[in-house]
């Protein structure tokens, strides 16, 4: 425990004075010509580099940082990060020779920071282990390896049919109020004990929403391994613009460095990071605002021409490193909000084409009570299949087929005609499978339990259960298995696939449970 004594303060001050650099170097200075809308135009600074960090000296010697964006013939356009009100015309600006860096390290876990890495949760200063540049070149082909480990979200519908691997980029897309953030939060909560570091980047959201989210994560014990980077709606556009990149940079520190803080290599494995950008449409809007005030020419939907590059270079930083480079990973879950389900708008099409798949959330399903409202028909994961657990692969194939044929039949049977027995059976199976995929919030399921639930559905154990009872059956069955047949779950966990032995024991157990379940249903 630290004691606050005069001596400790004295020591701290002395230590800082030791490090004080009294050398004065010459620096290139410029003058602010114009300031407003969070941007500044600067005269001079002929040596400034694109994206370089600029230091503005404002009223009363206050330092405000900015980013050099437009390098023109005799002036520089820069965006201001921080308090724009202290900067006036004729203020001095000088270059720093650095680009924006954010602090990172274990000290940030459980903290809420702004896009510059400064704490905003009132829990005191953060001890940084290292700094990472906000803009960073994504690793090349040689440094990567294909995605091969699963990143379990704990959501049945996603882990079974749209599996996500560590190092993948999976888009979560949907209208407002369809549960996009809920999926992201569930995914974070499910990473407990998975040796995963989660970074949630809130862009342009209400501060109260972010506060709620922090509370939720804390309640579920998920803040211990989570860092929240928050650029709320009241932060300036440049801050919202760099927020996702800052989140990626904070995550990259953990991926490129091992547990001991040294660069990761074959003997010093890098860690696994999950990065959620919620949401990139707001970042694009912030970037549009910035670009327009910088007088860059507008393109489609008034976005600047390089908005595709903005998102592609951000998402390209999601990676699964090769074993020689420590085998760490950075999984990206960007979120995009669509307007009235229009996925052909500029930003959604861009991000869909960049990512390795997408999870579509649909308003209709949401209001039908199908939550999470994932439309499994048009949601895909292009690379996650190779990272899926074998047990899940065994059962999920039939699930997809069942649901596909169900949807097809459902469309036909809406015309209302006599159905033969096989069709009826297929409809009944489909209805139960759809019901099986419903899941509450904050109740992630371990993968072996998900596999068992789908196994029970796929092998017809649910066919005689009423549709309304399916979720209850699933919950009680898993409770029963956990209580009385923990061996089956344990074996499935270690074997990671359905062997004949496990299948026969599981069949017997489910059959036995079903008898009890049916009787309890009558009593009620």
């Amino acid at each position: 425990m630290t004691e606050i004594t005069a001596q400790s303060i004295d020591e701290a001050l002395r230590a800082q004075l030791e490090a004080l650099d009294t050398n004065v170097e010459s620096r290139e200075v410029g003058t602010v010509i114009q300031v407003g809308d969070g941007i500044a135009r600067i005269d001079g600074l002929k040596d400034a580099m694109a994206g370089e960090l600029l230091e503005f000296t404002g009223e009363g010697g206050k330092i405000v940082y900015g980013l050099a964006q437009n390098l023109e013939e005799d002036e520089v356009g820069a965006v201001l990060l921080g308090d724009v009100t202290v900067i006036r015309e004729n203020d001095q600006v000088h270059t720093t020779g650095r680009i924006v860096e954010v602090p990172s390290g274990r000290g940030m876990l459980g903290r809420v920071v702004n896009p510059l890495g400064q704490p905003i949760d009132g829990k005191g200063p953060i001890e940084a282990e290292g700094y990472r540049p906000v803009e960073f070149r994504a690793p090349g082909v040689i440094e990567r390896q294909p995605v091969n480990e699963p990143m379990q979200t704990g959501i049945l519908a996603i882990d079974s049919m749209i599996p996500i691997g560590r190092g993948q980029r999976e888009l979560i897309i949907g209208d407002r109020q369809t549960g996009k953030t809920a999926i992201a939060i569930d995914a974070i909560i499910n990473q407990k004990g998975q040796d995963m570091i989660c970074i949630y980047v809130a862009i342009g959201q209400k501060a109260s929403t972010v506060a709620n989210l922090v509370e939720t994560l804390e309640k579920h014990g998920a803040m211990e391994y989570t860092i929240i980077v928050s650029a709320t709606a009241s932060d300036s556009a440049p801050l919202q613009y760099i927020a996702p990149m800052a989140g990626a940079a904070i995550g990259e520190y953990f991926m490129y460095n091992g547990e001991d803080g040294q660069p990761a290599n074959a003997n010093n494995p890098g860690r696994h990071v999950l990065c959620i950008y919620d949401d990139l449409s707001k970042q694009a809007v912030a970037y549009r605002q910035m670009s327009l005030t910088l007088r860059r020419p507008p393109g489609r939907e008034a976005y600047p021409g390089d908005v595709f590059y903005l998102h592609s270079r951000l998402l390209e930083r999601a990676v699964k490193m090769s074993d020689e480079n420590g085998g760490g990973s950075l999984t990206a879950l960007p979120v995009i909000e669509t307007q009235a389900g229009d996925v052909s708008a500029y930003i959604p099409t861009n991000v869909i084409s960049i990512t390795d798949g997408q999870i579509f959330l649909v308003t209709d399903l949401f209001f039908q009570g199908q939550r999470p409202a994932v439309d499994v028909g048009i949601s895909v994961s292009r690379v996650g299949g190779s990272a899926q657990v074998k047990a899940m692969k065994q059962v999920a194939g039939s699930l997809r087929l069942d649901l596909a044929s169900y949807r097809e039949l459902q469309a036909f049977t809406q015309f209302g005609s006599d159905l033969d027995k096989a069709t009826q059976q297929q409809l009944a199976r489909g209805a139960r499978m759809t019901e099986l995929l419903k899941q509450g919030r904050y109740v992630p399921m371990p993968v072996e339990e998900q596999a068992i639930a789908i196994y029970a559905g796929g092998h017809g154990f649910l066919d005689s259960i009423e549709v309304e009872d399916v979720t209850r059956f699933r919950g009680e069955l898993l409770d029963y298995l956990r209580g009385s047949h923990a061996g089956i779950l344990e074996d499935l966990r270690t074997e990671k696939k359905f062997t004949e032995d496990i299948e026969s024991r599981l069949d017997a157990a489910i059959e036995q449970f079903k008898q009890n379940f049916a009787s309890s249903g009558i009593v009620e």
Partner: protein, 187 residues
């Protein structure tokens, strides 16, 4: 103002060159320096005050009237400078003045071979210090060094030296600010 930026640059160069040559012929380096500091003041004033700029480029006014207006405003500057400003106003406005100033500075350096070092201090310099600074600048930048001294009583102490776009800020204020930030850092 011409649409082609090469034309614009040529125009700026003509203004700067005319001004420099006339001033140099008439009053030597001192007149050149005097006009330079006056132009700097005008540019800085124009950045935070829009009225003069607007009046100088007001299309509803006859060009001759604009020229006489601007000449009137800057009547206490040298004749050459005020007439150049008047021509600028007549031909479209004072928007290009910062570029003219930049070109003027380049010409001072390249054509006259003079390095201008702006020095800001709290107390007046003595000759010993002037020699010291001149030697330093001469060694590092070359050319004949001309010091432009300025006294700022708001400064606590120390010195700020600027040459071109480069600046050495050894003022007490900046140093103390640095000390303050360092001391506030927790390790």
């Amino acid at each position: 103002m011409p649409a082609n930026r090469y034309h614009a640059k040529a125009e700026v160069d003509i203004y700067a060159k005319t001004l420099l040559e006339q001033l140099n012929a008439k009053g030597g380096i001192d007149a050149v320096m005097e006009a330079r500091s006056q132009m700097e003041q005008i540019v800085a004033y124009n950045r935070s005050h829009i009225e003069l700029n607007r009046a100088a480029s007001d299309a509803t006014m006859a060009p001759e009237k604009r020229a006489s207006l601007v000449k009137g405003v800057f009547s206490n500057t040298s004749e050459e400078l005020s007439s150049v400003l008047g021509v600028m106003a007549q031909r479209g406005g004072l928007d290009i003045l910062p570029r003219v100033l930049a070109a003027y500075n380049d010409l001072i350096k390249n054509q006259l071979g003079v390095t201008v070092v702006d020095v800001v201090t709290r107390v007046p310099l003595d000759d010993h210090l002037r020699d010291l600074i001149k030697n330093k600048a001469k060694n590092e930048l070359g050319g004949d060094v001309v010091l432009r001294e300025q006294i700022d009583t708001n400064m606590l102490g120390g010195i700020i030296m600027s040459a071109g776009s480069r600046r050495i800020d050894a003022s007490m204020n900046t140093m103390l600010e640095g000390v303050r930030t360092t001391l506030k850092k927790t390790s």
